[in-house]
Symmetry: C2
Amino acid sequence: MKAALIGSRRALAVRSSDVRSLLRYAKDPAMVSLAGGLPSPELFDIEGIAQATEHALKQSPVECLQYGMTEGQAALRHALVGLLEKRGIHATVDSIVVTTGSQQALDLIARALLDEGDTVVVERPTYLAALQALSLAGATYACIDVDDEGGQVEQLLALAPDPRIKLVYVVSTFSNPSGTTMSRARREVLVRWAMKHQVVILEDDPYGELRAAGERVESIYSIAASIPGASDWVCYTSTLSKIIAPGLRVGWLVMPPALVELVARIKQAMDLHSSSFAQQVGAAYLESGRLPGHIERVRTEYGKRQVTMRGLLEEAFGSKLKLRHSEGGMFLWGEFTDGTNTRDLLQHALEQGVMFVPGDVFYAADPQGNAIRLNFTSASVERLELGVARLQQAHRLFASLTKAAA
Amino acid sequence: MKAALIGSRRALAVRSSDVRSLLRYAKDPAMVSLAGGLPSPELFDIEGIAQATEHALKQSPVECLQYGMTEGQAALRHALVGLLEKRGIHATVDSIVVTTGSQQALDLIARALLDEGDTVVVERPTYLAALQALSLAGATYACIDVDDEGGQVEQLLALAPDPRIKLVYVVSTFSNPSGTTMSRARREVLVRWAMKHQVVILEDDPYGELRAAGERVESIYSIAASIPGASDWVCYTSTLSKIIAPGLRVGWLVMPPALVELVARIKQAMDLHSSSFAQQVGAAYLESGRLPGHIERVRTEYGKRQVTMRGLLEEAFGSKLKLRHSEGGMFLWGEFTDGTNTRDLLQHALEQGVMFVPGDVFYAADPQGNAIRLNFTSASVERLELGVARLQQAHRLFASLTKAAA
């Protein structure tokens, strides 16, 4: 069968993730990967998860193994209400739909809201896999720039009112890829704009609990709850991937009532429901009381790695690499000021035994060629040192070659 | 937010499953449900699954908990190759993509192949949730009728060649809802037609191992493998839901190479991958050697229930209810010959404390009002007796009311 013969238009338009094509390099144990977005496996609370699993299978075997509700297991949604309460988000069980990771939340919202050619507002740069999910639903894009206070929502005010704008997508805290957090003031501007123009906001918050420094900023969802009529326009998604384990694939959406019904109907057609077993394990872990201590350990270690990496990069590149301000999460974002194209740099980096993601993949339009995303959570401090040293060496070689060619 | 204000056209067009709206009745413990498609929970091999889970977490904790490949965990795909071999299907690891239940396989194939308005050939009746997934991708339908030898593929030969026909969807063995198995001869006709017209066949086989009587029929996938050029046009999907436990949500697709790449790219945008944890548990269970004995127990018990229910129905309704021939699976399909409309009958049945699914929901077009789908796997033999007695009583009351009104 020739590939060209088959395939829907949208499917063929989905670009393969560059991150995905880097995976084969990551298998080499000598390679230092600063490319992925993996949590550190040595921090997994394996013992706690094993206990939670045993508990779930003993206490509620049929709930673990039988078909369940499309919206998600009751035990998990109850536990999530409690988790959200600690984040200042007052959700009800009925406002939550459990998803297969928060990636599925993006796909669900895209399918629920977008017709072919509808417009989504995204940050530049924004999360690559969000672009894939949105494009699969036929999205076109309007972009707002990012500075050290996150997405510049003021740029929305300059947009002409357009009924085809259906959605604003933001990673509000410790963004992937930029690492930035949107300021409280900007969040409120965004909420008021969305309400006025009847556009849904999807607040993606996988990293919020991984704060290394600074003070928590109120969620867009919470801000909307305090403005009459605004909460009808805000959805919030998060996941257990970064605070417990990605392999569970347990994420969730918090939504206004009209969207819950619509999203549940789509999800039923997509996969009936996410793994009951994984959901019950997640619920049991949340109920076990181990999460706060575990998050504390992860926060501390990631914080250390972030500080280390920032220091190493500043030492290695000085003013040649401008780093975005970040107080947590999993990524540092840099922009070379010496004309380095990071896609070209990547070839040299791979030869030196270090990998990263060139920043241009994170743009819905007009990609910046000088940007780089660096992950600091999956490698140890020692490996980070090795990785940055190799990156510096690759940059040196690349710069000298460029110079020679000029 | 008014529901009318938001929602993509396709999302709003997905009809809510009638099976789903029946769920609230199913919560009443006095209700005998012949409506759902649930495996019998008392047959779950809880001990075996607990052991497999413990083994998976002990032997490969990081594989259980970390991000994995979109295509699925290597251990599971290896185990599935072995499982498929026993079904006469020679698959390679690289031809398999793991899905969140086989429902996601339908959604993936629909998104991979269908543009808005493309045509899918389905049986009438066909699996309700397949219609939901296909419609979400914008499908229109061409239908073939079903008799005791499954879908009447001869009707395809009468169809005018049409480049918009992109897919044929069949539940080949013990179909949901009709319980029928497509004959070997028809399978070969179907394969040759699909190859000639360059149309993909999706063979959905969740129930094939639940054979109560008769001889196994070679899969469409295997038949195609023996006809040069035909295997490029056949995809096969199955699931652990009916042979181990649905709560794992582990299904899979076997596909020709060109489709594997396309489907994996879409799946990455949809949810990155299915639960690694559930996949590793499934793999460990398959490796444990317990499956053959477990399937034998399930087959025997379901076989007993099927024979019991058929006997009870024949006794209760005689020639008023024509039952389709079936040799296994989970459903009996009947058509009333006395003018009974089963959607009207359902109201009386619910009052009597028994529920079923009216057959009209299983048609892509021209629904039959006299048909009924009855599940025999989720209730015990005693409950089946009670259920059929209540159904008979409901039918009597309904018939007398209809007579009085006439």
